[in-house]
């Protein structure tokens, strides 16, 4: 087990290093940083001095090593726009994104599991067919367009909910959160619904498929035969066994929710790190782009590593097969 874990850890580190190389080369391809750093009418001498001051005259691999050295010490450069360390700016925006992503996942579970259960327990009911058709729609609808429709209906036409922003926030553990105030919660409903759309369909289909698989099994029949109410069978025997795969998938999908929040945050002006990266790409704030990509890579590698370890704990076959 420990040898397997060590190998898996080394793999993860290799992936992170490979991604730093890709990101560094990629970022060196876009635009000439000298153009943005020096004014148009600077003479040749000043140009050269600036290039030397930023170390841009060194070979690319030396520049890469100094970037890597900074990255290890938590220094990913200063944002051109905010004139603050890029990492710090992103970390400040992170709670907003996490809060929204967690809210979306909760919505997906709260909506998805009951609907999926119903469709699985009563597969021939017209309601179940409607649920399944709805889930196909959830997969096909372009997410960003649904976000616009939500704004159009609930914010513009009906005027029930605000169309953007985070609303009033309150501090907890030194961080500002929207979910602690009524106004913040109201601001969160539409973006969270938008972000949850795809995952709700996913949870629904997963729960239905699992239910269809479990219901014919003996222990469900036994539970019914000993006279348990249908309610008790579903909640105690069925739901419990469905929860394991559902929790696994929901955990796995958390990363992709954070990825898609780039779109949702842009639509609803939610000041998280997704909106930040889009703005940074538009103004070519290179340190910001690098810092965001590195954080996302770390996040995904960590999620994948965690899931792999969980699988290894739950299923010994995974350990031995590699």
């Amino acid at each position: 087990m420990s040898a397997w874990l060590l190998r898996r850890l080394l793999q993860a580190i290799f992936v992170v290093i490979a991604m730093t190389v890709i990101v560094f080369i990629g970022i060196s391809v876009i635009g000439d940083p000298v153009e943005t750093l020096i004014s148009q009418d600077a003479d040749q001498g000043e140009r050269l001095r600036t290039i030397a001051a930023f170390g841009l005259d060194r070979p690319l691999w030396v520049q890469y090593l100094s970037f890597l050295n900074g990255a290890i010490h938590g220094d990913l450069g200063r944002s051109f726009v905010y004139n603050e360390p890029a990492l710090q700016v992103i970390l400040q925006r992170m709670p907003a994104t996490l809060e929204l992503a967690v809210a979306a996942m909760l919505l997906a579970i709260v909506i998805g599991i009951p609907l999926g259960l119903f469709a699985g327990v009563k597969p021939h009911s017209p309601v179940s067919k409607a649920i399944m058709t709805g889930s196909i729609l959830g997969f096909s609808l372009p997410g960003f367009w649904v976000g616009l429709l939500l704004i159009m209906v609930f914010a513009v036409q009906l005027g029930w909910l605000p169309s953007g922003g985070r609303g009033e926030t309150r501090a907890l553990l030194g961080i500002q959160w929207s979910f602690l105030t009524l106004d913040g919660l109201q601001h969160m409903i539409l973006p969270a619904l938008n972000l949850a759309l795809f995952k709700t369909s996913l949870v629904m289909r997963l729960v239905r498929a699992e239910a269809r698989e479990i219901i014919p099994q003996d222990y469900i029949r036994t539970a019914r035969a000993k006279g348990l109410s249908e309610r008790a069978v579903v909640s105690r025997h069925l739901l419990k066994n469905i929860m394991i795969p559902v929790v696994t998938i929901v955990g796995l999908e958390f990363g992709s929710v954070i990825a898609f929040s780039v779109v949702t945050e842009t639509i609803f002006s939610w000041p998280g790190m997704g909106k930040l990266i889009i703005e940074s790409i538009h103004v070519l704030d290179r340190p910001m782009i690098v810092a965001y990509l590195m954080i996302i890579v770390l996040l995904f590698v960590a999620i994948n590593l965690l899931v792999d370890c969980l699988y290894a704990v739950l299923d010994p076959r995974v350990r031995t097969s590699r």
């Binding site: 096909s140 372009p142 960003f144 367009w145 616009l148 159009m152 790409i281």
Partner: protein, 303 residues
């Protein structure tokens, strides 16, 4: 040599195979609806230049005074804007038809190129085996563990806007799915006797790959390609909406939706709404056809 008559009995003529496929496909009513919808969408896109009431890029045909008119209004020159106009006074119906063309072009081109690259690499991995195979498949696993939108975002942050850049980004996003499928079916096929026979006859590795393995792995690849076109179109629209996709001069459906976004808050919904509807119909039509293709062509999935 055997007589042609007996050969006919062994190898059924092509047409009957297609007929059987067509019958199986049309057995599902939703699939027929999807196919019809898809045919209409493709025809509209191809014929955009002839059926659009106006050339939306010809600035001499536009009048800024016609800007932001609601659906059904009439311009000063007597033309009716069935789906309204955008801020430039452009007829939305015409803009959607032209935008559909760009969206379909990006989706189909990227899917075809990705299929070619991914299938070749997948087949090559299966055939080469050993280190090359495990390295390629690790790369596939790694890439599929990141969401498509993030990879595309990263590539476009490096490359900048442009139709070809978007196509390239989508190809890089999509190739992995094809490679995985191609390898999986090639592994099954390469154990069969006809491959062994070809090898025994001294056929070169490339010949075996391209003439024997590829044709027999085409079915699952085609099913994936259909779904991937829909995914590519939706992803392109999302990227263009974020301002990272196609340039303003070649507005796809996603770009049109983005253009209308700022007017949505003042109740002028049509600029964003109708292009989105066109996008939705396109994606659903392709998905319906793709689902049915998978059911018909994949014997394991048949229920």
């Amino acid at each position: 040599m055997s007589a042609p008559a007996s050969l006919d009995q062994v190898v059924p003529p092509r047409a009957s195979g297609f007929n059987r496929f067509a019958r199986a496909f049309t057995a599902s009513r939703t699939a027929v609806v999807g196919l019809t919808l898809l045919a209409v969408v493709v025809l509209l896109a191809l014929l955009a230049a002839w059926i659009a009431p106006q050339n939306p890029y010809d600035l001499t045909q536009l009048d800024i005074l016609d800007g932001r008119m609601p659906p059904g209004s009439t311009s000063a020159s007597g033309m009716t804007f069935w789906l309204g106009t955008d801020d430039q006074g452009r007829d939305m119906l015409s803009a959607i038809l032209y935008g559909l063309r760009i969206s379909l072009f990006v989706g189909v081109t990227s899917a075809v190129v990705a299929a070619a690259v991914g299938a070749l690499l997948g087949l090559f991995a299966a055939y080469a085996g050993g280190r090359i195979e495990s390295a390629l498949m690790r790369l596939v696993d790694l890439q599929l563990s990141f969401p498509a939108i993030l990879i595309a975002l990263m590539i476009l942050a490096f490359l900048g806007k442009g139709v070809l850049n978007v196509v390239l980004a989508l190809v890089i996003v999509e190739w992995a799915a094809y490679a995985r499928t191609a390898r999986a079916s090639a592994l099954i096929e390469s154990r069969k006797e006809y491959i062994e026979a070809a090898r025994a006859m001294g056929a070169s590795p490339w010949r075996i790959l391209l003439r024997h393995l590829l044709p027999n792995c085409l079915t699952p690849l085609m099913v994936i390609a259909t779904v991937q076109v829909a995914r590519a179109i939706a992803l392109e629209a999302t990227l263009s909406f974020l301002g990272l996709g196609v340039p303003v001069t070649e507005p796809s459906l996603g770009m049109l939706i983005a253009n209308g976004y700022q007017y949505m808050l003042s109740g002028k919904f049509w600029i964003s709404f109708y292009p989105g509807l066109a996008l939705l119909f396109t994606v659903i039509a392709i998905n319906l056809v793709g689902d049915r293709l998978r059911d018909v062509l994949n014997p394991r999935g048949a229920s």
